[in-house]
Amino acid sequence: MNSGITSIKLVLLGEAAVGKSSIVLRFVSNDFTENKEPTIGAAFLTQRVNIGEQTVKFEIWDTAGQERFASLAPMYYRNAQAALVVYDITKPQSFIKARHWVKELHEQASKGIIIALVGNKVDIVSSGGERKVAREEAEKLAEEEGLLFFETSAKTGENVNEVFLGIGEKIPLGRPDEQSGLQNGGVRITDDQRIDLASTGSGAVAASGCNC
């Protein structure tokens, strides 16, 4: 009852066609919380996960293709608490690109961002295809840069949930200062003075303690 909901903004990065969107689809279409309906807007996908007492709500931002010509906006990284840097274990080039994105995140994103390095498409190797990025190489990068590391298959679902659970576990949950809005009778004020434009009415702001 008292366990709050923590929202985590998570961004996806990685070369084209490595399976970023597939990983998200696998994750949000999976039935592992009571809230199984993923919400889709033009904005982002959300998925709730229960981790112990806590409910973690992932707000997942896909690149929408803007990274293709190096045109991601600062807004994309802003306040992201977590990032998935995805590569395809059968495409060495995509691993080089992953290194680039890790560097970019360290430069552009908030300091405490939790980054998971994700080698996708392991099913190809399991079914006899050729692996082109050694697990050790990726582990080394993860070690050096302080990243979580997973090898996944969006196709079979292998390890996909583990990626998100792993991130959820590393995020400091239920900080009381983030809960104030929700405890105030469900008024949708997330933090400090933020106003939700979709909910009109002066009640919304009274909760912010704005006393003007």
Binding site: A42, Q66, A73, G185, Q193, A198, S202, V205, C210, N211
Partner: protein, 614 residues
């Protein structure tokens, strides 16, 4: 070739994943998981419906509207960042921009940029970094009841953004900052207002909420300045007249005509209490630059292709081919839309930008909470005509953002000053307003801050002194007096085709229509549509109007402009609050009087509940 009738929209003419339900004006249903199932093409398309050049507010709203309608949009910007004329820039980006202005790279959309940056910024160890700041080229505030706000909610772009309230409006008079009596019952409880004045003010507010239906009251003043009506008809005194005209109405000078001012006063009052006891919001991390990014992302989700660092070289209207500076080409089957700042070389069709807006942006070493309402991080200060030492005839408007807005670090704030005064007087007015603000904040706050010592200059002739130079005699006039530390000062003149008080005129977009004008030989921009530069207006009010006009020009009708249905349960509430329920009491906030004395939002009923219980 084009019928004067509504032309079928791109969506109707071409099978597309969005168009399956869009017969007979049903809203487009965005399919579940839209935008993430299609693998995207590897290279820029070689054929698009619409090419948009420049990622300013209007262009970005247009790109999103077209993409969701089913048009295939390529949206480029010559800069390495989003925003163009609406950009929110770091200090380094600002430096680069200033240099480009002074090199004449913006086709006279901007001139005379002067930038002074303290060496504290970018100095690493003790200082601030360039990225700690987000400076808007055309700062804007958002009225709670406005067309842009509805579009933000409808398109769900608001989910990308964070908004904060701004309830603190000050009118500068007699050397002091009078706080606007706009919040809650301040109008009625204000000790300084005589009872008679309060009554008259109430009478006026009641009238203005549906002034259009009462022509008998204002018709005889239609062509006259509104102050005459306020004084003669409503018996208001000068301070109230000034507040109504300049703080609430955000007018530029005394000659503002009655209907346009009534419109602007109502804009404020009807925005009041939509989200709370304030009329205005602004976006965190930067203004129009953030909103542009939000709309661009929305457009990308809707299928638009984005490419920064790409400039247009020319357009050939006969083959409908656009050529870029890097030599690549794209066929544009519908329209090419360009921001005047990104016009190609050898352009000859850029609309005339007749009106000057003079801007002065400062970053100061004080957070200026003194000017903000409790719990807020922003304020607006207006300097009415005649209130400044310079004898200003036009208003100077100042928009102040503190660290809570996340556009500047702790212990600093950003001041945006602007005026519609034309010519050399403008800068004198800006300086006078700055001086008044400086004096006031130094007086109001007591903490000591050391003087800034080193300054980097970017002069109007393009010279850049990259290394710190000591603040020399030649810059004496910019030596901060007293103890207010200036981290950055930027003067520039912006030009616009939109006169004060106006939004862009529909005929503006006919200027360069290939059907209505013969082509100029040798011009690289025949047959393109230019967008308008931002006007002097401090609100976003012109943006949707301009984007809609362009949309209509391209699609043939604006019927399905952002006619979106995301087809999920999480339906966006209709932006029309039920004010009875709006004020859900929340326990420990008892003193936060939630009874509004006048319910300005109930348009139809002008009944003013619970009057003046003083």
């Amino acid at each position: 070739m084009l019928s004067p009738e509504r032309r079928p929209s791109v969506a109707e003419r071409r099978p597309h994943f969005l168009s399956f339900s869009s017969q007979n004006g049903c809203p487009l249903v965005v399919p579940h998981l839209a935008g993430i199932e299609d693998p995207l093409p590897e290279s820029t398309p070689d054929k698009v419906d619409v090419l948009i050049v420049g990622t300013g507010m209007v262009e970005s709203v247009l790109a999103a509207a077209l993409s969701w309608q089913g048009s295939n949009v390529l949206h480029i910007d010559k800069n390495d960042h989003y925003g163009d004329t609406s950009a929110t820039m770091t200090v380094d980006q600002t430096k680069k921009w200033v240099k480009e202005v002074n090199d004449g790279k913006f086709s006279n959309c901007y001139t005379n940029a002067k930038l002074y940056v303290s060496a504290i910024i970018g100095s690493g160890d003790r200082g601030f970094s360039s990225r700690d700041f987000g400076l808007d080229l055309a700062p804007k505030i958002l009225f709670a009841k406005s067309d842009l706000l509805s579009i933000l909610v409808k398109s769900r772009v608001h989910q990308y953004l964070e908004f904060q309230s701004l309830s603190s409006f000050h009118t500068y008079e007699n050397d002091s900052f009078e706080k606007l009596t706009n919040t809650k019952q301040e109008i009625f409880t204000n000790q300084n207002l005589p009872l008679m004045t309060k009554r008259n003010l109430m009478k006026f507010i009641k009238f203005v909420l549906n002034w259009e239906e009462q022509p008998d009251v204002w018709e005889s003043y239609a062509e006259r300045p509104i102050c005459e009506m306020l004084i003669e008809k409503f018996k208001l005194e000068r301070p109230q007249v000034f507040e109504l005209m300049f703080s609430i109405g955000l007018c530029y000078n005394m000659s503002a005509k009655t209907p346009e001012v009534l419109q602007r006063i109502r804009r404020y009052l009807s925005s009041f209490d939509v989200y709370g006891p304030f009329a205005v919001l602004y976006s965190k991390y930067g203004g129009p630059g953030e909103l542009s990014q939000g709309f661009c992302r929305s457009a990308a989700v809707g299928g638009a292709t984005y490419k920064l660092n790409e400039s247009l070289a020319s357009f050939d209207p006969s083959t409908k081919t656009a050529t870029f500076e890097d030599g690549s080409k794209v066929t544009v089957s519908e329209k090419l839309v360009i921001s005047p700042t990104q016009a190609p070389k050898y352009s000859q069709n850029i609309p005339e930008q007749k009106y000057e807006i003079h801007r002065l942006t400062c970053v100061v070493g004080k957070s200026c909470e003194e000017w903000f309402s409790e719990g807020e991080s922003a304020a607006v200060v207006v300097f009415p005509p005649g209130s400044l030492k310079s004898g200003n005839q036009n208003v100077v408007q100042a928009f102040i953002l503190g660290p809570g807005s996340e556009v500047c670090p702790q212990e600093t704030s950003v001041w945006y000053l602007s005026t519609t005064e034309q010519g050399p007087r403008a800068e004198m007015d800006l300086d006078a307003a700055l001086e008044a603000m400086e004096t006031s904040i130094v007086r109001e706050s007591s903490s000591d801050l050391e003087n800034d010592e080193s300054i980097v200059q970017f002069g109007p002739n393009g010279e850049t002194m990259i290394n710190s130079v000591k603040l020399g005699q030649s810059f004496k006039e910019y030596i901060p007096r007293e103890r207010l530390q200036f981290l950055l000062k930027l003067y520039y003149t912006q030009y616009t085709s939109t006169p004060p008080f106006s939004v862009v005129d529909p005929s503006f977009f006919d200027i360069n229509d290939e059907n209505s004008k013969k082509l100029i030989t040798g011009a690289s921009d025949n047959g393109v549509l230019y967008t308008a530069m931002p006007s002097a207006e401090i609100s976003y009010d012109e943006v949707v109007t301009a984007a809609k006009l362009l949309y209509e020009k391209i699609v043939g009708s604006d019927d399905d402009f952002f006619d979106l249905d995301f087809g999920d349960d999480d339906d966006v509430p209709i932006h029309n609050a039920n004010y009875e329920n709006a004020i859900e009491d929340d326990d420990d906030d008892e003193d936060n009087d939630v009874d509004m004395n006048f319910d300005v939002n109930r348009q139809g009923t002008t009944e003013l509940v619970g009057e003046m219980e003083i």
